[in-house]
């Protein structure tokens, strides 16, 4: 009761202040927060927020990058969902892909970080595990080309032929039945670095004393330690990793294109971002491409919000 009364009095006092005084009060309380935030906010607004807002705006226009965009309302979105069959394929491919790569990559990178953190020579292990991220793009495409080459000299085909498991070389990157599997595999291989490194850093943030306390409380083995001590403390990193893998797995594009080309046979590796890229940089329909980006963003944002609810660090 007394606290609510105090609040009421305070509110009454606030109301009696002039606008200027109220501002001084507000400023006194928050200036330091804004001072710390200012450099980021200024740069972020100019170079990130402005382009994103512009792109969202463009999604309601017809814009070919030559003439000024003209407003078409929701037309792009209508086209996208009602008339664009290729988009439907892209959407279903992306979802299928993300459902596998997202969670599996997430779990694997955490497991790798957790295990490597406890090994001897963990520096060497870490470098080797992070290598695909360092060399990304440049060397990767050549490496998997050697492995997944569709002729009988490709390492994998060669191996399977020698083992007698197959009679004919498998057309890894042209047979629609295999394309997506190959893309999933390569993406998993390549994309684990970011999450891995963040988890590794997060593991150092778990105070040793927690483990000691847990041991006294009857935690017996490493797995119990993981579940009762490590995971709860690491929630912020787990959330970051989760958002990162949602964005990454729904944004799959480069690898799909370098495996199967663009457009891929039967659109077997056509993803949402591939669709977007097609319209933005091949057909120069920026408005339509922006609409695709907005749809992709909505999907990832909803998923991101769900994950944040699940892993919220405040809910303890």
């Amino acid at each position: 009761m007394s606290s609510s009364l105090a609040k009421q009095i305070k509110r009454e006092q606030l109301r009696q202040l002039t606008a200027g005084e109220r501002f001084t009060r507000f400023w006194k309380r928050n200036w330091i927060g804004y001072a710390f935030l200012a450099p980021f906010v200024i740069l972020f607004t100019i170079f990130t927020v402005a382009p994103v807002v512009t792109a969202i705006g463009l999604s309601f226009t017809d814009y070919n990058m030559m003439q000024t965009p003209h407003f078409v309302g929701l037309n792009n979105y209508k086209l996208l969902f009602l008339d664009d069959e290729v988009f439907t394929i892209a959407l279903s491919n992306t979802v299928k892909f993300a459902v596998i790569v997202g969670p599996v990559g997430y779990l694997l990178s955490f497991l790798a970080a957790w295990v490597i953190n406890q090994l001897q020579a963990r520096r060497a292990f870490t470098l080797a595990f992070y290598a695909p991220s360092i060399t990304s793009g440049i060397a990767m495409s050549v490496v998997w080309m050697v492995i997944f080459s569709s002729d009988r000299y490709g390492y994998l085909n060669n191996f399977l032929l020698n083992m007698g498991l197959i009679d004919e070389p498998i057309l890894w990157n042209t047979d629609p039945n295999y394309i997506m599997k190959v893309v999933v595999f390569i993406q998993l291989w390549m994309s684990m670095g970011t999450g891995f490194l963040v988890f590794l850093a997060g593991l150092q943030n778990v105070p040793r004393s927690y483990y000691e306390a847990a041991a006294i409380d009857g935690v017996k083995n490493k797995f119990q330690e993981l579940i009762y001590v490590t995971l709860p403390v690491m929630k912020p990193q787990l959330l970051f990793g989760a958002i990162n893998s949602i964005v990454g797995s729904f944004g799959v594009f480069e690898i799909a294109v370098s495996v199967a080309g663009m457009p891929s046979p039967n659109y077997a590796a056509h993803t949402i971002v591939a669709h977007l890229y097609d319209y933005a940089f091949i057909r120069f329909q920026m408005g339509y491409a922006s609409a695709v980006a907005v749809v992709l963003f909505i999907i990832t944002f909803v998923l991101g919000r769900i994950v944040m609810k699940l892993l919220s660090s405040k809910g303890e």
Partner: protein, 293 residues
């Protein structure tokens, strides 16, 4: 179980499961390290091995001819190679240092001061994180153009400082820093900037080291910014310059293939060096580990 006498009278316990664990991890890691191994091998392959069919992974007769080829083809460029290297180093170093400062200050404010509007800003950060970069490229160019930054270091640096991803990363780590420590320092009369610089930042070393690795790798290899924001030769950075030297994006011209392999190898070296240095900090145990909440 096997017991081996280790130094200082300690016993080294070798159990079957431990050996198995190391073997599994070793196999996994050999697999993930393939691209790095390939990169090194290719840089030392003579021309006939580069084009051998079926392709071969390891080098049989290593040579340094690729590197001399690279030097020769660099000599034919109008702008001295050192200029590209200088550009790359300046741009990348300023971005990495800048983004660590800007993002950590921003993240600190979002987590510990929570000023009104902070939540809205965080939502905007999430939106930026999730919005496809492909469609924001054109609007970004318009912004940079409006600010008359084309062909300056500013165009290469400024747009890459306040990155949503970086701020989000640091914010997550800031959340683990105990509020009690900050409160205690305030009571002891420490100024806000001093608390931030001398207490919070040192404790955040694993996070900032991770950010340095990410930021360095991305910006050192960034091909897009110089491609659209820079037209003069003298302002180009290494990735773009190397592409021009090797004969354009499409032209893996046969004669220059060796030089390209050497260049790729050299381009990757600084990233590996930075990673190896920062790695020790990523795995540094926290300063406030002993604090009980």
């Amino acid at each position: 179980m096997l017991k081996i006498r280790w130094f200082k009278g300690q016993w080294l316990h070798i159990t079957f499961s431990k050996v198995l664990l190391y073997l599994v991890m070793l196999a996994l890691v050999c697999f993930t390290a393939l691209p790095l191994v390939y990169l090194v091998c290719t840089a030392f392959k003579p021309l006939d091995e580069l084009f051998v069919y079926p392709p071969r992974f390891f080098v049989h007769h290593p040579t340094t001819k690729n590197f001399t080829d690279l030097v020769v083809s660099l000599g034919s460029s109008t702008v001295p190679f050192t200029r590209y290297f200088f550009n790359s180093v300046v741009v990348t170093v300023i971005i990495v240092v800048g983004t660590v400062i800007v993002s950590s200050m921003g993240a600190y404010s979002l987590v510990k001061f929570k000023p009104p509007g902070g939540q809205a800003l965080f939502n905007m950060i999430l939106i930026a994180l999730m919005f496809s970069a492909h469609v924001t490229k054109i609007p970004s160019y318009m912004v940079v153009n409006k600010l008359h930054l084309i062909n300056t270091y500013g165009a290469l640096i400024l747009p890459n400082l306040a990155v949503a991803y970086n701020c989000f990363l640091l914010k997550q780590f800031m959340e683990q820093y105990p509020d009690e420590l900050i409160e205690a320092a305030r009571i002891d009369g420490a100024g806000e900037f001093r608390i931030f610089l001398q207490m919070v930042m040192p404790a955040l070393k694993p996070a900032t080291a991770t950010l340095v690795v990410f930021s360095f790798t991305n910006n050192w290899n960034d091909y897009f910014s110089p491609l659209i924001y820079v037209t003069s030769q003298a302002m180009k950075t290494l990735p773009l310059a190397l592409q021009t030297i090797s004969g354009g994006a499409a032209g893996m011209s046969v004669g220059r293939a060796g030089a390209v392999a050497a260049a790729t190898f050299l381009m990757t070296l600084p990233t590996v060096v930075i990673f190896t240095i920062m790695q020790g900090k990523v795995m540094e145990t926290m300063v406030y580990s002993g604090i009980k909440e």
